[in-house]
Symmetry: C2
Subunit: 207 residues, 2 copies
Amino acid sequence: MKKVSSKVVERLLIYRRLLRLYMQTDGPNIYSHQLSRMTGFSSAQVRRDLMEIGYFGSSAHGYDAEELLKSIDEFVNISEDFSIALVGLGQLGRAILDYFQGHGPNLRIEVGFDINPQKIDRVIQGCRCFHVDRMDEVLKNTNILVGIIAVPATNAQDIADRFISNGINSLLNYTPTRLQLPPHVFVENIDLMNSIEKAIFFARRPR
Amino acid sequence: MKKVSSKVVERLLIYRRLLRLYMQTDGPNIYSHQLSRMTGFSSAQVRRDLMEIGYFGSSAHGYDAEELLKSIDEFVNISEDFSIALVGLGQLGRAILDYFQGHGPNLRIEVGFDINPQKIDRVIQGCRCFHVDRMDEVLKNTNILVGIIAVPATNAQDIADRFISNGINSLLNYTPTRLQLPPHVFVENIDLMNSIEKAIFFARRPR
DNA sequence: TTCACGTTGTGATTTTTTTCACATGATTGC
DNA sequence: GCAATCATGTGAAAAAAATCACAACGTGAA
């Protein structure tokens, strides 16, 4: 299957989300310039992105929203249920848990890990919680492919290593730590402090 | 002053953070290949980035860590205290509050807004909380330049507009809404669902 | 002093990403 | 039926970002 850049995937997922909203209220078809307005990406970019997944519209009616949505769904192929593990159930970890268990029906944080005895062996928001020491044991018996890291920065690398040694090759890193990873592992860094510092920088400097 | 891309700023802020750690334990000087190993960026990229801010090392001892840090600090210029406003004090908003008030000494979420009466007119984590209806009034009397949006997706645009009409031109958007903004406004989108969907995608597809 | 070594700074190049611009094709109004 | 209109798909161009590769330099050992 054709390789596709992370940026394109990101935008496709955005179209996907917007299409769902669009279909609830608007007509059955949609134009690239509409997606452009909704996203802020240029209409040429929208068309290029849709080319990538081999979906073709008509020059008269643009794209059939429902078909397009289905095409993107097929392409990203995350419709079936998907299990995730989360390490770190502090304030941030619980917010993440809350956010994901609330929203999407197709993804689910299956298990959580922490070192705080208050969190362990409970079920929080439908997520079974274990002591971090049991990661290997627990992960062995699941088919989790994505790990979320929401621990203090100093422990992030350890947790990442543990995930990887259990065959997990896609990580969400909510710490500012720059993880050292083998090249086949995907990581998305969500660095809250970095984001706000950038925002502060550009609050005063033009782009 | 020279314009500099968001990507470069992002990396400079990462170097800045790592330099602080590095200086606590390691020698007074540092090489581009060390920063490369720590960050995952190539050493050539590190050198290019440092060129941008006009800091020059020596070919024998690399960079003087302290001087370099000072140069980056001067460049990003976010050392003095900096006030921020946060709208939305739900689970996510409070996690953000917790995170930022805990960490950096130089930035501070000064005021918060919500519609939940339980949150209003209290001080949470050193952040004074008001009803959203009082945004104009409260923001008028501060010199806040950065706004954080952590409300339900459907309200995000309204809040953004309100921020902008009060002269705030740099936003952190924690909702999946794609904001429509005038071109001078900087926005950093932190789209949690998008991130995890990307991670799921790349868990199964090579890059 | 001189040479070997390792690092910087950077021009040139490559790669990636985005935009331009237009031929093509479908539809509508007349 | 035909012209006018408006979107698409895409080759070509441009812009942005990253990498290559090497001259120049400073140091330390001999």
